[in-house]
Symmetry: C2
Subunit: 715 residues, 2 copies
């Protein structure tokens, strides 16, 4: 009946408006049941459960065998890690898989059969689930003793498919690949030509004394390629040319040419290409988000305008205010926006809204949330008013910064004085006393500020929250210290009184003071700019970081599988080392004992350790060298070269491109900002680009709406 | 009289037009004698002598004591370098100084007294000359035994002041300094906060086994600062965290935070800032060049229009064609441009030129030199025409590339097969035979191409010149080899027949073939783009390279003076090493024996060696470490940190900024270019920006002309 139809239209409008708010696509089923399912699927609880499931399945690697989640990383000292019994992690995994099965079925149902076949991500999701479940069954049938677990490498896919931002970013990266591939090809040509050249230049001669270069670096084709590839990472930079250079200085020309061409030109060209491709990336992504929002609102307008209560006589389609109010009350949205829209609806005199008016109402969504700080309390007493003026003045804040600086300097002085003293000679009286004094000052400052501004206003500034929290923590730690060690007096040495963990806390107090110093940053103009750029960047970088996590995880798991059993405790490696050819080890590798490499690379699944690795091409080189000599693992070289290319070359360049993009936008806008600097914006990427964005035209919106696979518009 | 006046005007016009062609400033004296002096000073001979003098005085460092220009760089084997007798280098120096004195006096005279006081570069030049001459006198009075020679550090200034491009670039860099300083300050704050944090975190404990981290890296404030500064260069990346990491994995969070913030964010922010500042740099510099050109031409017009023969009745000032022809004949300019201007002058019907017409005539100067290849010979015989078609066809060129590739592959195969053979087992027959075959093919290819295209057309393509030259060299080397060793036969081993240097030449032949392979580059679109970008970049980078040479030279000379006497032959250093504290050397420094560091850094004045150093922060770190332990030179740390900042951080970022600028311009223009790709342009920076440049207005030009310090215009 008409009532049921009307209910359906209202529900559709609610969902479309929620889609608009969340920048979601509106191409989903729109019948009553599907709408209910859709709202349930995108409810906070459901999405939270999904995120939790993804986190759990990714975190499983930390407790699964072979896990290395122990306190020490030293293979000699560490205790065997806890091995969960067979079936424990597997049953958690099964639970996760079940959640994913529900996820994929709901998603597939909601977008409809036709769209499903076009959606490669969903197909890949189903495929991944099938492979994972098969692998899981195989695993259980071997009682967890099987050596290869494919499903582990596939896990990061679950993270990837759940984020539309990451999928979009991946698409952008994908479109950059042809150009990147060209430069990588150029690098390969460069490398191979120079390798041939090197092999001809540093050939074996009759005189064995003379061909050191040949013996160590250019013995055969793979050796030469590796030497030059590592030179490209600058890890073996002077080493590789030293034997030739000692023979004749002119040989250095070869290495310098190689480095200048490869490192300075080709590598930086990669940066240029990636930056060039990503120049419009942020803008484009924000533009498409805007389109989705406008489309959702327009769709809501269209369905509301087909409500039966609307007078059919009107030429133009329009929406009654009553229907809109009904929709607004049921839609989930920011309460500030909702109130603002309600307010302007009430101020509107007519009771019908045209499409333009409707769209205009929802522009409130795009607006900055201007944060208004609560007012200061108004004191009656003259004395209190004076106090309020004094301690609410910016100069009081500056005084606080000066005191924080003085505190830092005094800690520094104590550190320098105590540097070479034995722990037994050290007197902690001075450090204890200044800590006590400064913490008292910080406490006083906090209380006076609260007095002047009122608690609510004080807490409305993030810098004050940061300050206050640290002050409270400092106070608690200090009181705890005094309770255990008594007040500081000459010869006060807390660490010799047993409870070492609390003395560690005293050190922690000082570290917190170092952090407290950071509050001066907003007071310095350029620093504030830099810091806000960095914070913005972090926001925009989430998708990239997600992709990085995916890559790291896959590499880590592959590494664990490839290098399983390669860990030899230190004693054994030493023997291994001595028995191997001496010449290879006299190079730069001796300093990197195999142990260290092993500690860092083999059997480590701690993602953090992998991350630090990425800055250190040297270790990779050394490992390559060790591995190529020992020929333990044939694939190690390819593995590490791929790792270097992806993590060090491509990702770092992507990062630089994004940073350039962000910084240049920010910088251009700096002047406009300055005038508004006293109003705090909750900045989003959308706002940064607002004056450059193009509004979609009505024709574009309507064309898109008519292409909707499930919504049949009357007109 | 009027005749003399007319002559003066003609001469002025000639000089102004020459100024316009060379993009020189026209603010110089304009009386007859000064004009003669000016033309003499800017004549090719004079400028060539000046350049030669600068080269000579800079090159002096290579033969002066302490010189290290020996074949080997190994201090153990190298013979004492030739020490020129006292007075030899000094007299060459004096000659150079005299040339510079003449240079500075002519320059000062030509710009006039008033302008001289405003010109800081000239004042600095004079000051440098006075200091150098004083130092020279002191040097001679000590019979060359004095230890400090200030004038050596000042030498690169002579290079700097002679290039207007370098002065302009320096000004740009100078204007970027405030922003760079802010980031460097931020880096310093970052570094010092983390240093304090580290000292509190890795404090000395009672248990000596546990505080390895403290002993090795954070013993005191300078030590901690150095450790973290070196971490910023990523040179000691995993080393510095390994002791703490073995104790507890959580310590790695500290190092990762430090690296991510410092290396990934702050360092790349420096790139962003420098790129942002340099975004308009190329455009601005080209724009100001254009202004100088238009100003020079306008000035020529103004002086010519005041010639007495011009009818005074004319309202507008104008120039007679006869006078212009007279000027053109005497002015030194590109013959192609001169002919083109003459031609359009003759085509002009009127005999008076207005300012706009005059300016338009000289636009020929801005135009691309479209290179027209001479026509192919026209053969009568039908057979020859067919031959011409076949061998002039691009497919014949592709065949040549395929053959070159086959040659490369065959050399590669021989190299791989011979890699592990003893020189005595090796059979060079195969390599000799393929060399012989391929060189014959190359010769045939060259001859057939010449037949098809005619010698002139063949030589007009740079790729053919490259090809032909290599083919001729290959042929000569091959003939020489056969003359000495006979034709290749199984068991052919040229190296065992005495004349080793010729066998080296056979290897050289193969290297040349590797180079010949490069001719395929223009056939691949993307590669061609990349290569032309790089070539353009090299052109635009000359000024930067000049400044780099200046900095390198100054650093090298300072290094020589600072570290004089620090070279201890290997035996001694070993003793030094053993007697020093062992703990410091167990780190990553052992692999870099002091010898190597010494070889690379101390007493080296070979600029090339310095250059390679810049890629290797590790060596710097090691040296810092060695020096800080031994406390031999207090200033070494500051010296190397400055070196790292300037050469590695700032210069590399400048380079990236320029590359980005160039590449993005080029990329945007790629589509327009493609249509014209068959016409070869002689590309200049000016042409790249032509469609973006703004023409200066008449008012701007006239205002500038009226500000001319020496030229009094009649109207």
């Amino acid at each position: 009946g008409a009532g049921a139809d009307n209910d359906l239209y209202i529900n559709q409008a609610i969902v479309f408006i929620e889609d608009a708010i969340q920048y979601r696509s509106i191409n989903h089923r729109v019948d009553s049941k599907s709408l209910w399912l859709y709202r349930w699927y995108y409810s906070r609880t459901c999405q939270w459960i999904l995120s939790l499931t993804i986190t759990v399945i990714l975190a499983l690697a930390f407790i699964e065998e072979p896990s290395s989640l122990t306190v020490t990383s030293d293979v000699r000292y560490r205790l065997p890690a806890w091995n969960p019994p067979c079936g424990l992690t597997e049953s958690i995994e099964l639970l996760c898989f079940l959640v994913f099965v529900v996820d994929v079925s709901v998603k597939s149902y909601l977008i409809g059969w036709k769209e499903f076949w076009k959606n490669k991500w969903l197909m890949a999701f189903i495929l991944t689930l099938i492979v994972s479940l098969t692998d899981w069954i195989v695993s259980l049938s071997f009682f967890c003793k099987e050596s290869v677990r494919i499903r582990r490498i596939l896990r990061p896919f679950f993270l990837l498919q759940n984020s539309s931002m990451m999928k979009k970013t991946l698409k952008s990266i994908n479109s950059t690949l042809p150009e990147m591939a060209s430069v990588v090809l150029l690098l390969a040509v460069h490398l191979s030509l120079f390798t041939m050249f090197a092999m001809l230049l540093f050939a074996r001669t009759k005189d064995n004394q003379q061909d050191k270069e040949w013996v160590v670096y250019f013995r055969n084709l793979p050796e030469s390629l590796t030497s030059l590839l590592v030179l490209l990472t600058t890890a073996n930079n002077p080493d590789v040319m030293i034997p030739a250079y000692s023979k004749n200085r002119a040989y250095s020309i070869f290495f310098i040419l190689f480095t200048v061409l490869g490192n300075l030109f080709l590598m930086n060209l990669l940066t240029a290409i990636i930056y060039n491709q990503f120049r419009g990336y942020l803008l484009k992504s924000v533009q498409s988000s805007l389109f989705r929002r406008r489309l959702g609102i327009r769709a809501a307008f269209e369905v509301l305008s087909s409500l039966k209560e609307t007078p059919a006589s009107a030429q133009q389609s329009c929406v009654s205010i009553g229907a809109l109010l009904q929709v607004l009350q049921k839609a989930e949205m920011d309460s500030r926006c909702k109130q603002a829209i309600m307010r302007s609806l009430k101020m509107c005199s007519c009771d019908q809204l045209s499409a333009a008016q409707f769209q205009k109402l929802f522009e409130e969504l795009d607006k900055d949330a201007i944060k208004q700080h609560p007012p200061s309390p108004e004191y009656q007493s003259h004395f209190m008013q004076k106090m309020q003026f004094a301690f609410g003045h910016p100069y009081f804040g500056y005084l606080g910064n000066v005191v924080a600086l003085a505190n830092i300097i005094s800690i520094c002085v104590v550190l320098v004085m105590d540097a070479d003293k034995q722990p037994s000679e050290r007197d902690d009286f001075f450090l204890g006393a200044i800590n006590c004094f400064f913490i008292l000052y910080y406490l006083l400052e906090m209380l006076l500020k609260i007095l002047a501004m009122g608690l609510k206003r004080y807490l409305s500034y993030p810098s004050n929250r940061f300050d206050g929290l640290l002050t409270v923590i400092l106070l608690i730690l200090e009181i705890a210290t005094f309770a255990v060690y008594g007040f500081p007096h000459p010869g006060w040495r807390p660490e010799f009184m047993g409870l070492l963990s609390l003395w560690d806390m005293v050190r922690l107090v000082n570290m917190l003071i170092v952090f407290r110093f950071l509050r001066i940053i907003p007071n310095m103009k350029f620093m504030a700019l830099v810091v806000t750029t960095l914070l913005d960047l972090v926001k925009n970088l989430r998708a990239f970081a997600g992709i990085l996590v995916v890559v790291f995880y896959a590499f880590a798991i592959t590494g664990i599988m490839l290098f399983k059993g390669a860990v030899v405790p230190l004693g054994n490696t030493r023997i291994l080392k001595q028995s191997s050819q001496g010449a290879e080890f006299t190079g730069s590798c001796t300093s990197f004992s195999i142990k260290k490499v092993v500690v860092l690379y083999f059997k480590e699944k701690n993602v953090i350790a992998w991350y630090s690795a990425h800055f250190q091409a040297e270790v990779i080189y050394c490992l390559l060298h060790v591995l190529s000599v020992h020929l333990i693992y044939r694939w190690a070289k390819i593995y590490f070269v791929a790792w270097w290319l992806i993590s060090s070359v491509i990702w770092v360049n992507l990062f630089i491109a994004l940073l350039l993009e962000n910084f240049i936008h920010k910088w251009d806008r700096r002047c406009q900002r300055e005038s508004l600097s006293d109003i705090e914006y909750q900045r989003t990427v959308e706002l940064m680009f607002r004056d450059v964005l193009e509004e979609p035209t009505e024709e574009e919106l309507m064309e898109k709406l008519h292409q909707h696979p499930h919504l049949q518009l009357c007109r």
